[in-house]
């Protein structure tokens, strides 16, 4: 029967009561989603801070002052000169945090771009062409998943040397698996729709079908994965840097700052707590944004 005892199955009855257009509904869902709004706001603020780092940062993040080492933050009895104190080389902690946002966001963004390109190409090809292509891509995904990411990334960075470019490149080449998995599944779903068959029937070329029929319809999933993988890349970079095999000193990276603070943890735990907390907040915000986007663009997948 249509009237099963759950409120969900009553919804079809309500549809004629709800009036707004799809666009209005999307906008309403978008702005009405608290997690998405919070996440997006935090990311936006951190993005502005990163872009305007030279303007905002009170000090040069590289300037050492060996006479003013490990000054505590204001709230732990420090001075306003160094709001978040200074590190073991007397560098202003706040300024290093602000510049660190640049590193994290840059790495996250570019790595997600690279892995997104690779993964999407593989996933779409597998989903659209199927058969042998699909088998090969699925196999490659299996191989990729079998490789321990942190270990391989560390090894490659160790061999090639830890520069920003190398870290970005390694992460970009390693994190394509989720893109491939999701894009493959989405393409499979879209491929069977009537408008794709229609395009094939009128003789549209394959690249044309992929670009103008498939891509627009899997874009929402792609955007969700991009945000989630950005967060993933940022976390991994911090991990690599923490283990001393990511971004190299004196570049201000949050993972590196935690690592440098680790030795003074016994006496000055804030050296570890502050950069870690900022990293946590950024990743949390991006994840909230990604989860929110998924909810908003595919409400039927929500339970």
């Amino acid at each position: 029967m249509t009237l099963a005892p759950s409120t969900n199955s009553v919804d079809p009855l309500l549809q004629d009561i709800v009036g707004p257009t799809p666009g209005q509904q999307l906008r309403r869902r978008f702005f009405g989603h608290r997690g998405l709004m919070i996440g997006a706001s935090v990311v936006a603020v951190l993005l502005v801070i990163a872009l305007l780092a030279p303007v905002i940062a009170p000090h040069d993040p590289y300037a050492q002052d060996l006479l003013a080492r490990m000054k505590p933050p204001v709230f732990l009895g420090g001075t306003w000169e160094h709001i978040l104190g200074t590190d073991h080389l007397g560098r202003d902690y706040l300024s290093r945090l602000i510049y660190g946002a640049r590193v994290s966001l840059l790495i996250g963004f570019v790595a997600a771009l690279i892995s997104g390109t690779i993964g999407t190409a593989m996933g779409v090809a597998a989903g659209y062409f199927g058969g042998r292509t699909d088998a090969v891509v699925t196999f490659l995904i299996n191989v990729r998943l079998a490789m321990p990411v942190v270990l391989v990334a560390l090894a490659v960075v160790a061999i090639l040397g830890g520069s920003l470019q190398v870290v970005i490149g390694v992460l970009g080449l390693l994190l394509w698996d989720r893109f491939a998995v999701v894009m493959r599944a989405s393409t499979l779903q879209v491929r069977g729709r009537e408008y794709v068959s229609a395009a094939q029937a009128v003789g549209a070329s394959t690249p044309r079908i992929l670009l103008s029929e498939i891509m627009p319809n899997i874009l929402n999933n792609l955007i969700v994965v991009i945000t989630l993988e950005m967060a993933h890349a940022i976390l991994l970079e911090a991990t690599l840097s923490f283990l001393g095999l990511g971004v190299q000193p004196p570049t201000p990276s949050w993972g590196l700052m935690v690592s440098e603070g680790k030795n003074m943890m016994l006496f000055e735990p804030w050296l570890v707590l502050i950069p870690g907390a900022v990293l946590f907040v950024l990743v949390l915000a991006i994840n909230l944004m990604g989860d929110g986007l998924r909810d908003v663009t595919a409400p039927e997948n929500r339970s």
């Binding site: 005892p5 009553v10 919804d11 009855l13 309500l14």
Partner: protein, 345 residues
């Protein structure tokens, strides 16, 4: 079973003014409104009506299987003297499967894929008594044979996915009968099955019902089935019981315009003239969200008048068994040119 015969004339099930409201985001959905009927042991009641008319909700309410956020209200909903609306969860659990059973319309998904047929059949018994496994097994085999499954013993170790839909529904029936229930509710038990199997399953159900002297509520939209198995018929429309009575009286003299419409929609052997056009009932069921008043059929009724918005009287036939809810008297509706039923009346 001797006690059953002893109390044959007392209703096993007695429902008075059953109402089910479902809270939704848009307001309260008045899914079932003021339903009343009695059912004696050994009697078969067919509930007829279209999808969404509240047939399934009514039966789920009887079984105490409505969702957590839905509480049925009734002046009376008694099963053999037990008031079901106020019964504790434990009381309901002890009744369910033991004294009242239900067969659902989706045999393909109603069996747990993770357990064997035998496990699931025996569970029905072990849940209600301390029968040992050996006895439960013997009973399971006995019932599988009873519902016409060959090689019953070897079926016990099979999983649901290894059986066809028809077989699965037979298993569901066997499961419902494990504890010899006094009431069995079958909610469109054949809609998901092939036409040829539908007839077999219904015949089986009717036979078993007679054999075990159970009361049965059969929910269906197949009026042909109703004609064959029902003692009583209840016609539901948009959450209300619009007409109820003995099967002969309903078929011979349908009184509510909706019932008449329904009967016009199906060919009846001996009643429908060859070549005549079958009827349809145009229009859609109104929304039951928010305030519902008057006759809900008025949007589709050819006899509708402004008075249909008001209170609708309940007419009772001289025999006292046939009732219907309409502002018109049956005589007033004779202008309704009913080819099929009128021919015989």
């Amino acid at each position: 079973m001797s006690q059953n015969n002893f109390r044959q004339d007392i209703p096993l099930l007695s429902i008075d003014n059953l109402t089910i409201d479902i809270p939704t985001a848009a307001g309260t959905l008045h899914a079932v409104r003021g339903i009343s009927f009695d059912l004696k042991r050994g009697e078969t009641l067919c509930i007829v009506g279209e999808s969404g008319s509240g047939k399934s909700l009514t039966s789920l309410a009887l079984m105490g299987l409505l969702g957590k956020n839905i509480t049925p209200r009734a002046d009376k909903m008694e099963f053999d003297g037990v008031e079901l609306t106020t019964a504790s969860a434990r009381t309901m659990r002890n009744l369910r499967g033991a004294r009242m059973s239900m067969i659902f319309q989706e045999p393909m998904t109603s069996l747990n894929p993770a357990y064997t047929i035998g496990d699931q059949l025996m569970e029905a018994l072990t849940l209600h008594g301390s029968t040992n496994r050996k006895k439960a097994r013997a009973r399971a085999i006995e019932l599988l044979e009873k519902v016409g499954i060959t090689a019953a013993e070897s079926r016990l170790s099979q999983y649901p996915h290894q059986l066809s839909g028809g077989l699965r529904q037979r298993v569901m029936i066997a499961m419902a009968l494990m504890c010899e229930p006094e009431l069995i509710i079958a909610d469109e038990p054949t809609t998901a099955l092939d036409v040829t199997i539908q007839a077999q399953i219904l015949r089986l159900l009717a036979e078993l019902q007679r054999e075990m002297n159970m009361a049965m509520i059969l929910i269906t939209h197949d009026l042909g089935v109703v004609a064959r198995v029902a003692d009583k018929v209840a016609v539901m429309y948009a959450g209300e019981l619009v007409e109820t009575g003995p099967v002969d009286e309903i078929f011979a003299a349908p009184s509510h315009p909706y019932t008449r419409g329904l009967l016009r929609c199906i060919p009846l052997p001996g009643k429908t003239k060859r070549g005549s056009v079958l009827g349809t009932i145009p229009g859609i069921v109104p929304s039951l969200v928010g305030e519902v008043n008057g006759c809900t059929f008025r949007t589709r009724c050819e006899h509708a008048s402004p008075a249909c918005r008001g209170t609708i009287p309940l007419h009772t036939s001289p025999t006292g068994t046939h009732t219907f809810r309409c502002i018109h008297q049956p005589e007033d509706l004779e202008t309704d040119a009913v080819q099929s039923t009128g021919a015989n009346a």
